[in-house]
Amino acid sequence: MIKDVSLGQFFPGNSIVHRLDPRVKLVLTIVFIIALFMCRGPVPYAIMAAFLFTVILLTKISFVLIFRSIKPILILLIFTAVLNIFYATGGSELLRLGSVVITTGGIYTAFFMVFRIILLVVATFVMLTYTTSPIMLTDGLESLLSPLKKVKFPVHELSMMMSIALRFIPTLIEETEKIMSAQKSRGADFETGSIFRRAKALIPVLIPLFINAFKRAEDLALAMECRCYHGGEGRVRMRILKLCPLDYISIIVSLSVFILAVILSQILTFGVLI
Protein backbone atom coordinates (compact mmCIF):
# COMPACT_ATOMS: atom_id res chain seq x y z
CA MET A 1 0.00 0.00 0.00
CA ILE A 2 2.88 2.38 0.63
CA LYS A 3 4.64 1.48 -2.58
CA ASP A 4 2.06 3.46 -4.53
CA VAL A 5 3.37 6.72 -3.12
CA SER A 6 5.17 8.27 -6.03
CA LEU A 7 7.57 11.01 -5.23
CA GLY A 8 7.66 14.30 -7.00
CA GLN A 9 6.00 12.29 -9.78
CA PHE A 10 9.07 12.66 -11.92
CA PHE A 11 9.00 10.81 -15.24
CA PRO A 12 12.57 10.29 -16.37
CA GLY A 13 13.18 11.07 -20.01
CA ASN A 14 15.48 12.79 -22.39
CA SER A 15 13.20 15.23 -24.18
CA ILE A 16 14.00 18.89 -24.82
CA VAL A 17 11.87 19.83 -21.82
CA HIS A 18 13.70 17.34 -19.60
CA ARG A 19 17.06 18.73 -20.65
CA LEU A 20 16.22 22.37 -19.93
CA ASP A 21 17.93 24.05 -17.01
CA PRO A 22 15.73 23.69 -13.89
CA ARG A 23 16.04 27.41 -13.20
CA VAL A 24 14.67 28.21 -16.65
CA LYS A 25 11.76 25.86 -16.08
CA LEU A 26 11.02 27.30 -12.65
CA VAL A 27 11.02 30.87 -13.86
CA LEU A 28 9.07 30.12 -17.04
CA THR A 29 6.42 28.26 -15.05
CA ILE A 30 5.97 31.23 -12.76
CA VAL A 31 5.83 33.63 -15.72
CA PHE A 32 3.33 31.32 -17.43
CA ILE A 33 1.06 31.46 -14.38
CA ILE A 34 1.32 35.25 -14.13
CA ALA A 35 0.58 35.63 -17.85
CA LEU A 36 -2.37 33.28 -17.48
CA PHE A 37 -3.91 35.57 -14.89
CA MET A 38 -3.42 38.57 -17.17
CA CYS A 39 -5.20 36.89 -20.09
CA ARG A 40 -8.69 37.98 -21.07
CA GLY A 41 -10.87 36.51 -23.78
CA PRO A 42 -10.81 33.34 -25.89
CA VAL A 43 -7.90 34.11 -28.23
CA PRO A 44 -5.21 34.67 -25.56
CA TYR A 45 -6.40 31.57 -23.74
CA ALA A 46 -6.21 29.60 -26.95
CA ILE A 47 -2.62 30.81 -27.42
CA MET A 48 -1.66 29.74 -23.91
CA ALA A 49 -3.37 26.38 -24.34
CA ALA A 50 -1.63 25.84 -27.67
CA PHE A 51 1.71 26.65 -26.01
CA LEU A 52 1.07 24.11 -23.28
CA PHE A 53 -0.11 21.54 -25.82
CA THR A 54 3.18 21.93 -27.70
CA VAL A 55 5.14 21.50 -24.47
CA ILE A 56 3.22 18.31 -23.70
CA LEU A 57 4.00 16.98 -27.17
CA LEU A 58 7.68 17.80 -26.64
CA THR A 59 7.87 15.99 -23.29
CA LYS A 60 6.52 12.80 -24.91
CA ILE A 61 4.49 12.16 -21.76
CA SER A 62 1.20 10.47 -22.66
CA PHE A 63 -1.99 12.52 -22.50
CA VAL A 64 -3.62 9.85 -20.36
CA LEU A 65 -1.15 10.68 -17.60
CA ILE A 66 -1.83 14.38 -17.99
CA PHE A 67 -5.58 13.83 -17.68
CA ARG A 68 -5.03 11.65 -14.66
CA SER A 69 -3.13 14.51 -13.03
CA ILE A 70 -6.28 16.65 -13.20
CA LYS A 71 -8.35 14.06 -11.36
CA PRO A 72 -7.37 15.07 -7.81
CA ILE A 73 -8.54 18.63 -8.41
CA LEU A 74 -11.84 17.61 -10.02
CA ILE A 75 -13.84 18.60 -6.95
CA LEU A 76 -12.16 21.98 -6.89
CA LEU A 77 -13.02 22.44 -10.57
CA ILE A 78 -16.69 21.54 -10.09
CA PHE A 79 -16.89 23.79 -7.05
CA THR A 80 -15.38 26.70 -8.98
CA ALA A 81 -17.70 26.14 -11.92
CA VAL A 82 -20.87 25.98 -9.81
CA LEU A 83 -19.91 29.00 -7.76
CA ASN A 84 -19.19 31.09 -10.82
CA ILE A 85 -22.33 30.04 -12.69
CA PHE A 86 -24.53 31.21 -9.83
CA TYR A 87 -22.68 34.24 -8.64
CA ALA A 88 -21.05 35.86 -11.65
CA THR A 89 -23.36 38.26 -13.42
CA GLY A 90 -23.44 40.03 -16.75
CA GLY A 91 -24.73 39.24 -20.21
CA SER A 92 -28.30 38.12 -20.82
CA GLU A 93 -30.45 36.15 -18.50
CA LEU A 94 -30.82 32.46 -19.31
CA LEU A 95 -32.73 30.98 -16.43
CA ARG A 96 -34.42 32.27 -13.31
CA LEU A 97 -35.38 30.00 -10.42
CA GLY A 98 -36.69 32.19 -7.62
CA SER A 99 -33.75 34.28 -6.52
CA VAL A 100 -31.19 32.21 -8.45
CA VAL A 101 -30.28 33.67 -11.81
CA ILE A 102 -28.09 32.03 -14.39
CA THR A 103 -26.67 34.38 -16.96
CA THR A 104 -24.51 33.87 -20.05
CA GLY A 105 -21.88 35.95 -18.26
CA GLY A 106 -21.89 33.45 -15.42
CA ILE A 107 -21.39 30.49 -17.69
CA TYR A 108 -18.70 32.34 -19.60
CA THR A 109 -16.79 33.19 -16.39
CA ALA A 110 -17.20 29.68 -15.02
CA PHE A 111 -15.83 28.17 -18.20
CA PHE A 112 -12.75 30.37 -18.25
CA MET A 113 -12.12 29.96 -14.55
CA VAL A 114 -12.10 26.17 -14.85
CA PHE A 115 -10.00 26.36 -18.00
CA ARG A 116 -7.51 28.62 -16.24
CA ILE A 117 -7.13 26.27 -13.28
CA ILE A 118 -6.63 23.28 -15.59
CA LEU A 119 -3.96 25.14 -17.57
CA LEU A 120 -2.28 26.23 -14.36
CA VAL A 121 -2.12 22.75 -12.88
CA VAL A 122 -1.10 21.02 -16.09
CA ALA A 123 1.58 23.66 -16.72
CA THR A 124 3.17 23.12 -13.29
CA PHE A 125 3.15 19.38 -13.79
CA VAL A 126 4.41 19.31 -17.35
CA MET A 127 6.90 22.17 -17.19
CA LEU A 128 8.19 21.37 -13.73
CA THR A 129 7.50 18.30 -11.63
CA TYR A 130 7.00 15.69 -14.37
CA THR A 131 10.13 16.67 -16.25
CA THR A 132 12.58 17.79 -13.55
CA SER A 133 14.19 15.37 -11.13
CA PRO A 134 13.77 16.42 -7.49
CA ILE A 135 17.52 16.88 -7.10
CA MET A 136 17.65 19.18 -10.14
CA LEU A 137 14.74 21.10 -8.73
CA THR A 138 16.56 21.55 -5.43
CA ASP A 139 19.71 22.69 -7.22
CA GLY A 140 17.68 25.11 -9.32
CA LEU A 141 15.99 26.54 -6.24
CA GLU A 142 19.31 26.94 -4.46
CA SER A 143 20.78 28.76 -7.42
CA LEU A 144 17.74 31.01 -7.87
CA LEU A 145 17.55 31.85 -4.18
CA SER A 146 21.30 32.42 -3.79
CA PRO A 147 20.99 36.23 -3.95
CA LEU A 148 19.07 35.94 -0.66
CA LYS A 149 22.31 34.84 1.02
CA LYS A 150 23.15 38.53 1.21
CA VAL A 151 20.29 39.06 3.66
CA LYS A 152 21.44 36.03 5.72
CA PHE A 153 18.74 33.72 4.39
CA PRO A 154 20.03 30.13 4.91
CA VAL A 155 19.82 29.09 1.24
CA HIS A 156 22.48 26.38 1.38
CA GLU A 157 21.10 24.85 4.57
CA LEU A 158 17.61 24.80 3.10
CA SER A 159 18.65 23.04 -0.07
CA MET A 160 20.86 20.61 1.88
CA MET A 161 17.89 19.73 4.05
CA MET A 162 15.68 19.25 1.02
CA SER A 163 18.14 17.00 -0.75
CA ILE A 164 18.76 14.89 2.36
CA ALA A 165 15.01 14.57 2.85
CA LEU A 166 14.70 13.40 -0.75
CA ARG A 167 17.59 11.00 -0.25
CA PHE A 168 16.00 9.40 2.82
CA ILE A 169 12.39 9.13 1.67
CA PRO A 170 12.90 5.79 -0.11
CA THR A 171 14.97 4.49 2.82
CA LEU A 172 12.27 5.40 5.31
CA ILE A 173 9.51 3.95 3.14
CA GLU A 174 11.42 0.69 2.98
CA GLU A 175 11.84 0.77 6.72
CA THR A 176 8.15 1.46 7.31
CA GLU A 177 7.32 -1.57 5.22
CA LYS A 178 9.72 -3.71 7.22
CA ILE A 179 8.26 -2.55 10.53
CA MET A 180 4.72 -3.11 9.27
CA SER A 181 5.57 -6.62 8.11
CA ALA A 182 7.13 -7.34 11.48
CA GLN A 183 4.02 -6.08 13.25
CA LYS A 184 1.70 -7.96 10.90
CA SER A 185 3.60 -11.18 11.52
CA ARG A 186 2.76 -10.69 15.17
CA GLY A 187 -0.91 -10.18 14.44
CA ALA A 188 -1.21 -6.42 13.99
CA ASP A 189 -4.15 -5.38 11.84
CA PHE A 190 -3.79 -2.28 9.69
CA GLU A 191 -6.57 -2.84 7.19
CA THR A 192 -9.83 -3.34 9.02
CA GLY A 193 -11.85 -1.33 11.49
CA SER A 194 -12.85 2.30 11.60
CA ILE A 195 -10.51 5.04 10.52
CA PHE A 196 -9.66 5.73 14.17
CA ARG A 197 -8.83 2.11 14.81
CA ARG A 198 -6.56 2.03 11.77
CA ALA A 199 -4.90 5.29 12.77
CA LYS A 200 -4.30 3.90 16.22
CA ALA A 201 -2.80 0.74 14.77
CA LEU A 202 -0.17 2.91 13.07
CA ILE A 203 1.24 4.25 16.35
CA PRO A 204 3.37 1.14 17.01
CA VAL A 205 4.75 1.60 13.50
CA LEU A 206 5.54 5.26 13.87
CA ILE A 207 7.39 5.03 17.18
CA PRO A 208 10.17 2.69 16.00
CA LEU A 209 10.25 4.56 12.69
CA PHE A 210 10.92 7.85 14.45
CA ILE A 211 13.49 6.38 16.81
CA ASN A 212 15.34 4.88 13.86
CA ALA A 213 15.09 8.12 11.94
CA PHE A 214 16.80 9.98 14.78
CA LYS A 215 19.47 7.32 14.94
CA ARG A 216 20.03 7.62 11.20
CA ALA A 217 20.21 11.39 11.48
CA GLU A 218 22.91 11.07 14.11
CA ASP A 219 24.90 8.60 12.01
CA LEU A 220 24.56 10.76 8.92
CA ALA A 221 25.67 13.88 10.76
CA LEU A 222 28.75 12.01 11.95
CA ALA A 223 29.52 10.69 8.48
CA MET A 224 29.10 14.17 7.02
CA GLU A 225 31.41 15.66 9.62
CA CYS A 226 34.00 13.01 8.84
CA ARG A 227 33.84 14.14 5.24
CA CYS A 228 34.75 17.67 6.33
CA TYR A 229 31.27 19.13 5.93
CA HIS A 230 31.15 22.57 7.46
CA GLY A 231 28.21 24.27 5.83
CA GLY A 232 28.02 26.06 2.51
CA GLU A 233 31.06 28.24 3.07
CA GLY A 234 34.03 27.30 0.92
CA ARG A 235 32.10 24.43 -0.64
CA VAL A 236 32.50 23.91 -4.37
CA ARG A 237 29.84 22.03 -6.30
CA MET A 238 31.09 19.50 -8.82
CA ARG A 239 28.13 19.92 -11.10
CA ILE A 240 27.03 23.45 -11.79
CA LEU A 241 24.00 24.58 -13.69
CA LYS A 242 24.95 26.23 -16.93
CA LEU A 243 22.60 27.80 -19.44
CA CYS A 244 23.05 26.39 -22.94
CA PRO A 245 21.67 27.73 -26.27
CA LEU A 246 18.59 25.52 -25.91
CA ASP A 247 17.74 27.33 -22.67
CA TYR A 248 18.06 30.76 -24.28
CA ILE A 249 15.94 29.72 -27.25
CA SER A 250 13.19 28.37 -25.02
CA ILE A 251 13.24 31.51 -22.89
CA ILE A 252 12.87 33.72 -25.97
CA VAL A 253 10.15 31.58 -27.59
CA SER A 254 8.12 31.17 -24.39
CA LEU A 255 8.34 34.81 -23.39
CA SER A 256 7.25 35.94 -26.87
CA VAL A 257 4.22 33.67 -26.68
CA PHE A 258 3.31 34.91 -23.20
CA ILE A 259 3.74 38.57 -24.18
CA LEU A 260 1.68 38.04 -27.33
CA ALA A 261 -1.14 36.51 -25.29
CA VAL A 262 -1.10 39.33 -22.75
CA ILE A 263 -0.99 42.10 -25.38
CA LEU A 264 -3.78 40.47 -27.38
CA SER A 265 -5.96 40.27 -24.30
CA GLN A 266 -5.42 43.99 -23.71
CA ILE A 267 -6.41 44.80 -27.30
CA LEU A 268 -9.27 42.35 -27.66
CA THR A 269 -10.93 43.16 -24.34
CA PHE A 270 -13.08 45.78 -26.09
CA GLY A 271 -16.40 44.37 -27.00
CA VAL A 272 -15.80 41.08 -25.18
CA LEU A 273 -17.45 40.22 -21.90
CA ILE A 274 -15.59 40.94 -18.65
Binding site: I135, I164, L222, A223, M224, C226, R227, C228, I240
Partner: protein, 281 residues
Protein backbone atom coordinates in the same frame (compact mmCIF):
# COMPACT_ATOMS: atom_id res chain seq x y z
CA UNK B 1 58.38 4.28 8.54
CA UNK B 2 56.87 7.30 10.21
CA UNK B 3 53.87 6.88 12.49
CA UNK B 4 50.67 8.11 10.89
CA UNK B 5 48.67 7.65 14.09
CA UNK B 6 50.01 7.67 17.59
CA UNK B 7 48.12 7.66 20.85
CA UNK B 8 49.76 8.47 24.12
CA UNK B 9 48.04 7.26 27.31
CA UNK B 10 44.67 7.78 25.63
CA UNK B 11 41.81 7.71 28.13
CA UNK B 12 38.18 8.24 27.34
CA UNK B 13 35.05 8.17 29.46
CA UNK B 14 31.40 8.37 28.42
CA UNK B 15 28.98 10.50 30.47
CA UNK B 16 31.89 12.30 32.02
CA UNK B 17 29.65 14.82 33.77
CA UNK B 18 27.38 12.26 35.38
CA UNK B 19 27.95 10.48 38.69
CA UNK B 20 28.79 7.22 36.99
CA UNK B 21 31.14 7.89 34.10
CA UNK B 22 31.80 4.80 32.01
CA UNK B 23 35.40 4.26 31.08
CA UNK B 24 35.66 3.26 27.44
CA UNK B 25 39.41 3.51 27.02
CA UNK B 26 42.10 3.60 29.63
CA UNK B 27 45.67 4.58 28.89
CA UNK B 28 45.90 3.12 25.43
CA UNK B 29 49.24 3.52 23.67
CA UNK B 30 49.08 2.69 20.00
CA UNK B 31 51.22 3.66 17.10
CA UNK B 32 50.29 2.87 13.53
CA UNK B 33 53.00 3.24 10.96
CA UNK B 34 52.35 4.65 7.51
CA UNK B 35 51.24 1.99 5.01
CA UNK B 36 50.32 -0.56 7.66
CA UNK B 37 47.27 -2.84 7.58
CA UNK B 38 46.08 -2.96 11.16
CA UNK B 39 43.09 -4.88 12.44
CA UNK B 40 41.54 -4.10 15.79
CA UNK B 41 39.52 -6.94 17.28
CA UNK B 42 37.30 -7.02 20.31
CA UNK B 43 33.81 -8.01 21.36
CA UNK B 44 30.98 -5.48 21.76
CA UNK B 45 31.79 -2.83 24.32
CA UNK B 46 35.53 -3.54 24.32
CA UNK B 47 36.25 0.05 23.33
CA UNK B 48 37.35 -0.66 19.78
CA UNK B 49 34.84 1.72 18.18
CA UNK B 50 35.62 4.46 20.69
CA UNK B 51 39.28 4.03 19.87
CA UNK B 52 38.60 4.31 16.15
CA UNK B 53 36.61 7.49 16.63
CA UNK B 54 39.64 9.13 18.21
CA UNK B 55 41.68 8.62 15.07
CA UNK B 56 39.95 11.39 13.17
CA UNK B 57 38.88 13.61 16.03
CA UNK B 58 35.23 12.52 16.16
CA UNK B 59 35.88 11.90 19.84
CA UNK B 60 38.46 13.81 21.78
CA UNK B 61 40.48 12.20 24.58
CA UNK B 62 39.59 12.87 28.20
CA UNK B 63 43.17 12.20 29.08
CA UNK B 64 46.31 11.67 27.02
CA UNK B 65 46.84 12.65 23.42
CA UNK B 66 46.20 11.37 19.91
CA UNK B 67 48.38 12.50 17.03
CA UNK B 68 47.39 12.06 13.40
CA UNK B 69 50.41 12.56 11.15
CA UNK B 70 51.93 14.62 13.94
CA UNK B 71 48.81 16.76 14.41
CA UNK B 72 47.24 16.88 17.86
CA UNK B 73 43.55 15.94 17.48
CA UNK B 74 42.53 18.27 20.31
CA UNK B 75 43.70 21.27 18.27
CA UNK B 76 40.50 22.57 16.70
CA UNK B 77 42.41 24.54 14.07
CA UNK B 78 43.64 21.29 12.58
CA UNK B 79 40.26 19.51 12.54
CA UNK B 80 39.68 19.49 8.78
CA UNK B 81 43.32 18.75 8.06
CA UNK B 82 43.08 15.73 10.37
CA UNK B 83 39.87 14.53 8.81
CA UNK B 84 41.22 14.73 5.30
CA UNK B 85 44.32 12.83 6.39
CA UNK B 86 42.32 10.10 8.09
CA UNK B 87 38.96 9.16 6.57
CA UNK B 88 36.35 7.00 8.21
CA UNK B 89 33.85 4.45 6.91
CA UNK B 90 30.98 3.37 9.14
CA UNK B 91 28.91 0.28 9.67
CA UNK B 92 25.62 1.16 8.02
CA UNK B 93 26.07 2.13 4.37
CA UNK B 94 22.58 3.64 4.23
CA UNK B 95 23.34 6.20 6.89
CA UNK B 96 26.47 7.63 5.32
CA UNK B 97 25.23 8.31 1.83
CA UNK B 98 24.23 11.94 1.47
CA UNK B 99 23.18 12.44 -2.13
CA UNK B 100 20.59 10.90 -4.43
CA UNK B 101 23.06 10.22 -7.22
CA UNK B 102 26.11 8.01 -6.74
CA UNK B 103 28.71 10.36 -8.20
CA UNK B 104 27.24 13.33 -6.33
CA UNK B 105 27.70 11.42 -3.13
CA UNK B 106 31.32 10.57 -3.89
CA UNK B 107 31.85 14.23 -4.72
CA UNK B 108 30.53 15.35 -1.34
CA UNK B 109 33.85 15.15 0.49
CA UNK B 110 35.99 16.82 -2.21
CA UNK B 111 33.30 19.50 -2.58
CA UNK B 112 33.66 20.29 1.10
CA UNK B 113 37.42 20.60 0.69
CA UNK B 114 36.84 23.43 -1.76
CA UNK B 115 38.88 21.92 -4.60
CA UNK B 116 38.57 23.03 -8.20
CA UNK B 117 35.74 21.51 -10.26
CA UNK B 118 38.16 19.75 -12.56
CA UNK B 119 40.02 18.21 -9.65
CA UNK B 120 36.76 17.07 -8.01
CA UNK B 121 35.62 15.47 -11.25
CA UNK B 122 38.86 13.54 -11.73
CA UNK B 123 38.96 12.41 -8.09
CA UNK B 124 35.37 11.20 -8.25
CA UNK B 125 36.02 9.23 -11.42
CA UNK B 126 39.23 7.73 -9.99
CA UNK B 127 37.54 6.78 -6.71
CA UNK B 128 34.59 5.16 -8.47
CA UNK B 129 36.94 3.18 -10.72
CA UNK B 130 38.99 2.05 -7.72
CA UNK B 131 35.94 0.50 -6.05
CA UNK B 132 34.58 -0.79 -9.37
CA UNK B 133 31.41 1.30 -9.32
CA UNK B 134 32.17 3.61 -12.24
CA UNK B 135 29.37 2.25 -14.40
CA UNK B 136 26.90 3.00 -11.61
CA UNK B 137 27.92 6.65 -11.32
CA UNK B 138 24.54 8.00 -12.37
CA UNK B 139 22.43 5.50 -10.45
CA UNK B 140 20.39 6.23 -7.35
CA UNK B 141 22.24 4.74 -4.35
CA UNK B 142 19.07 3.46 -2.67
CA UNK B 143 18.53 1.02 -5.55
CA UNK B 144 21.97 -0.59 -5.09
CA UNK B 145 22.76 -3.59 -2.90
CA UNK B 146 24.27 -3.20 0.56
CA UNK B 147 27.73 -4.15 -0.67
CA UNK B 148 27.52 -1.70 -3.54
CA UNK B 149 26.37 1.06 -1.19
CA UNK B 150 29.30 0.38 1.10
CA UNK B 151 31.64 0.55 -1.92
CA UNK B 152 30.16 3.98 -2.68
CA UNK B 153 30.81 5.01 0.91
CA UNK B 154 34.43 3.85 0.59
CA UNK B 155 34.75 5.73 -2.70
CA UNK B 156 33.43 8.85 -0.97
CA UNK B 157 36.34 8.61 1.46
CA UNK B 158 38.99 7.70 -1.15
CA UNK B 159 37.99 10.75 -3.19
CA UNK B 160 39.29 12.90 -0.36
CA UNK B 161 42.70 11.23 -0.88
CA UNK B 162 43.31 10.37 2.78
CA UNK B 163 46.58 8.74 3.81
CA UNK B 164 44.77 6.56 6.29
CA UNK B 165 41.28 5.04 6.34
CA UNK B 166 39.57 3.78 9.47
CA UNK B 167 36.77 1.30 8.80
CA UNK B 168 34.43 0.68 11.72
CA UNK B 169 32.84 -2.75 11.15
CA UNK B 170 32.24 -1.99 7.48
CA UNK B 171 31.08 -5.50 6.63
CA UNK B 172 28.79 -6.35 9.51
CA UNK B 173 25.61 -5.42 7.62
CA UNK B 174 26.60 -7.00 4.32
CA UNK B 175 26.00 -10.36 2.70
CA UNK B 176 29.01 -12.66 2.11
CA UNK B 177 29.55 -11.42 -1.45
CA UNK B 178 29.46 -7.77 -0.38
CA UNK B 179 31.78 -8.59 2.49
CA UNK B 180 34.32 -10.19 0.15
CA UNK B 181 34.17 -7.20 -2.22
CA UNK B 182 34.84 -4.72 0.56
CA UNK B 183 37.75 -6.78 1.95
CA UNK B 184 39.30 -7.04 -1.52
CA UNK B 185 38.99 -3.30 -1.99
CA UNK B 186 40.59 -2.69 1.40
CA UNK B 187 43.57 -4.92 0.54
CA UNK B 188 43.89 -3.24 -2.84
CA UNK B 189 43.92 0.21 -1.25
CA UNK B 190 46.59 -0.90 1.17
CA UNK B 191 48.84 -2.77 -1.27
CA UNK B 192 48.49 -0.73 -4.45
CA UNK B 193 47.64 2.74 -3.22
CA UNK B 194 49.76 2.77 -0.09
CA UNK B 195 46.87 3.80 2.15
CA UNK B 196 47.14 2.90 5.82
CA UNK B 197 44.19 0.74 6.82
CA UNK B 198 42.73 0.41 10.29
CA UNK B 199 39.97 -2.16 10.19
CA UNK B 200 37.72 -2.60 13.21
CA UNK B 201 35.88 -5.89 13.19
CA UNK B 202 34.71 -8.84 15.18
CA UNK B 203 34.94 -11.25 12.27
CA UNK B 204 38.18 -13.09 12.95
CA UNK B 205 38.86 -14.21 9.40
CA UNK B 206 38.94 -10.57 8.27
CA UNK B 207 42.10 -10.19 10.32
CA UNK B 208 43.95 -12.95 8.47
CA UNK B 209 45.52 -10.65 5.87
CA UNK B 210 46.51 -7.93 8.30
CA UNK B 211 50.08 -6.89 9.03
CA UNK B 212 49.29 -6.57 12.70
CA UNK B 213 46.36 -7.39 14.98
CA UNK B 214 45.40 -5.65 18.18
CA UNK B 215 42.87 -7.15 20.57
CA UNK B 216 40.93 -4.82 22.83
CA UNK B 217 39.13 -5.75 26.02
CA UNK B 218 37.52 -3.47 28.59
CA UNK B 219 39.12 -0.36 27.16
CA UNK B 220 42.62 -1.80 27.18
CA UNK B 221 44.90 -3.24 24.57
CA UNK B 222 45.32 -6.85 25.72
CA UNK B 223 47.05 -8.53 22.79
CA UNK B 224 49.20 -7.34 19.96
CA UNK B 225 51.06 -9.14 17.20
CA UNK B 226 50.90 -10.60 13.72
CA UNK B 227 47.76 -12.60 12.90
CA UNK B 228 49.73 -15.82 13.37
CA UNK B 229 51.02 -14.77 16.75
CA UNK B 230 47.53 -13.84 17.90
CA UNK B 231 45.46 -16.70 16.59
CA UNK B 232 47.59 -19.49 17.98
CA UNK B 233 46.53 -18.32 21.45
CA UNK B 234 43.17 -20.00 21.14
CA UNK B 235 42.44 -20.32 24.88
CA UNK B 236 43.26 -16.71 25.59
CA UNK B 237 41.05 -15.45 22.75
CA UNK B 238 38.20 -17.67 23.93
CA UNK B 239 38.51 -16.28 27.44
CA UNK B 240 38.12 -12.79 25.97
CA UNK B 241 34.85 -13.84 24.33
CA UNK B 242 36.40 -14.08 20.88
CA UNK B 243 36.56 -16.97 18.50
CA UNK B 244 39.40 -17.84 16.17
CA UNK B 245 39.23 -18.22 12.37
CA UNK B 246 37.62 -21.52 11.36
CA UNK B 247 40.93 -22.75 9.98
CA UNK B 248 42.65 -22.41 13.34
CA UNK B 249 39.59 -23.77 15.11
CA UNK B 250 39.72 -26.91 12.99
CA UNK B 251 43.41 -27.48 13.71
CA UNK B 252 42.91 -26.72 17.40
CA UNK B 253 40.06 -29.21 17.68
CA UNK B 254 42.13 -31.84 15.89
CA UNK B 255 44.96 -31.23 18.35
CA UNK B 256 42.50 -31.63 21.22
CA UNK B 257 41.72 -35.10 19.91
CA UNK B 258 45.33 -36.11 19.88
CA UNK B 259 46.96 -34.68 16.80
CA UNK B 260 49.93 -32.43 16.93
CA UNK B 261 49.43 -29.85 14.19
CA UNK B 262 50.94 -26.36 14.01
CA UNK B 263 48.19 -23.81 14.72
CA UNK B 264 49.67 -20.99 12.69
CA UNK B 265 48.11 -22.05 9.38
CA UNK B 266 45.57 -19.30 9.36
CA UNK B 267 44.67 -18.82 5.71
CA UNK B 268 42.61 -21.42 3.95
CA UNK B 269 45.48 -22.44 1.65
CA UNK B 270 47.92 -22.82 4.51
CA UNK B 271 45.42 -24.90 6.43
CA UNK B 272 44.83 -27.17 3.45
CA UNK B 273 48.59 -27.61 3.01
CA UNK B 274 49.10 -28.42 6.68
CA UNK B 275 46.34 -31.00 6.65
CA UNK B 276 47.52 -32.44 3.36
CA UNK B 277 51.10 -32.84 4.59
CA UNK B 278 49.84 -34.49 7.76
CA UNK B 279 47.39 -36.93 6.28
CA UNK B 280 48.61 -37.61 2.76
CA UNK B 281 52.04 -38.93 3.54
Amino acid sequence: MADIIKSDKLTFKYNINSDTPKTALSEVDISVSSGEYLVILGHNGSGKSSLAKHFNAVLLPCGGKVYVDGMDTSDEQLLYEIRRTCGMVFQNPDNQIVATITEEDVAFGPENLGLSRKEIRSRVDDALKTVGMYEYREHAPHLLSGGQKQRIAVAGIIAMRPRCIVLDEPTSMLDPAGRRDILNIISDLNKNHGITIILITHHMYEAVNADRVIVMDQGKMVMEGTPKEIFVQVEKLNSLGLTVPQTVELLYNLNQSGFNLPLDSITLDECVDTLASQFCK
